[in-house]
């Protein structure tokens, strides 16, 4: 089965089983997201992809498209809510972009640019999250984790290794490594794993390659993420 719904006033076709985000994206409309990835089932945790359907907020990455629904996405109200979510993510972790190897290639930062976030606005938590530099090839800087579970899903579902998990709740939520010592060096993790290459922010970083691209040549330097993502889809 297939049908059409309205996305910010424009007709978008869908086939049965497609979510709002998938169908909109296939039709060339970018919806902000952090925990969604085209190769994995939706996770629904970051809420960046919220849209309004019949006056109610829904996660577009998880909500199936339905015939005739009217979806609002790119409105000042919803973008303002997305910006507030980003601001919370920034103050709940420790995001010092000038010293981050991912800067310029980071989806969190790129979305913040795209949504014109000028300030983290809230008071910073400055949580204490020591790094794990034990692995010979890969560094873990937990300070920047946004709990999207992409590494967890990639390691479990693709690499077949189950190296990562999330534990705790609320502000105490954190990423853990599945080894008795808790150290990455004591797992069978490898830099070639999908999980080593999927983190949207600067947590899982290959050693000895940082800052390889000069400012100006990085992924989101010239064009905003909503343009880059749609080009990548083509």
């Amino acid at each position: 089965m297939s049908g059409t719904f309205l996305f910010d006033g424009q007709p978008v076709p869908f086939t049965d089983g497609q979510t709002i985000l998938q169908a909109a994206r296939a039709a060339g409309h970018y919806i902000a997201h952090l925990c969604w990835h085209p190769d994995f089932p939706p996770h629904g945790s970051c809420k960046l992809c919220i849209v309004k359907v019949a006056g109610r907020h829904v996660s577009s990455c998880a909500m199936p498209a339905k015939e005739g629904m009217e979806v609002e996405s790119n409105t000042p109200e919803i973008n303002g809510e997305r910006r507030a979510l980003l601001q919370m993510l920034f103050v709940e972790g420790n995001h010092f972009c000038p010293s981050c190897e991912k800067s310029g290639n980071c989806q969190l930062q790129a979305l913040a640019y795209d949504l014109e976030m000028l300030t983290p606005r809230f008071n910073h938590f400055f949580p204490d999250r020591p790094v794990d530099a034990s692995h010979p090839e890969v560094l873990l800087d937990f300070n920047r984790c946004i709990f999207c579970e992409l590494c967890v899903r990639a390691s479990r579902d693709v690499d077949g290794k189950n190296v990562f998990a999330l534990t705790g709740r609320g502000i105490h939520k954190h990423l853990v490594v599945n080894a008795e010592s808790g150290r990455l060096a004591d797992t069978d993790f490898s830099a070639a794993d999908l999980a080593a290459n999927i983190c949207p922010v600067g947590v899982i970083l290959k050693k000895r390659v940082g800052f390889a691209q000069p400012i100006g040549a990085r992924k989101y330097d010239a064009q905003p993420i909503h343009v880059v993502a749609m080009q990548e889809d083509k």
């Binding site: 010092f96 972009c97 800067s103 310029g104 300030t119 910073h124």
Partner: protein, 187 residues
Amino acid sequence: MDAAGSDARRPRLRIATTSLAGCFGCHMSLLDIDEHLFELAQLVDFDRSPLTDVKHCGPCDIGLIEGGVCNAENVHVLREFRRHCKILVAVGACAVNGGLPAQRNHFDLGVCLQQVYQCREGLAAPQIPDDPELPLLLDKVRPIHEVVRVDYFVPGCPPSGEALWKFLTDLLAGRTPRLPYHLLHYD
């Protein structure tokens, strides 16, 4: 009419600038607007600023603050700026989110001081400075909006001269300041 939209009838605005816990990189970026400095000098008078060496801030239209809040003196200066400036602007990563100085927030302050002043090899007389003139350090470095109300934010480490000029010309012309994509950076 120039970039900032000045005209003869418009009164000259007063600007104050200061650096709290920062590296003066944002002030260097302000100097980086190069020949626009002449235009700026036509539009504004500088009050307290490292450019004038005036020590206290008087009534001003705009206060530009670089750097976060890391000690008691920073708090005093910041409050003085807030009292005297109609518009207060956080300039650069440290003022906006604590920046590099805030990376000490994970560490115990006493241990930091010991590491710097007592544990380094080759120190002749290791001693933690305790002169009463030295401002007391805060336990954590804070961005300025966590201490006073801030009207505008210009991120960047530092923001480029171009970004600062765009911001200032918007503000001086009475427009809502806005940075286009290529000028909005956190690094």
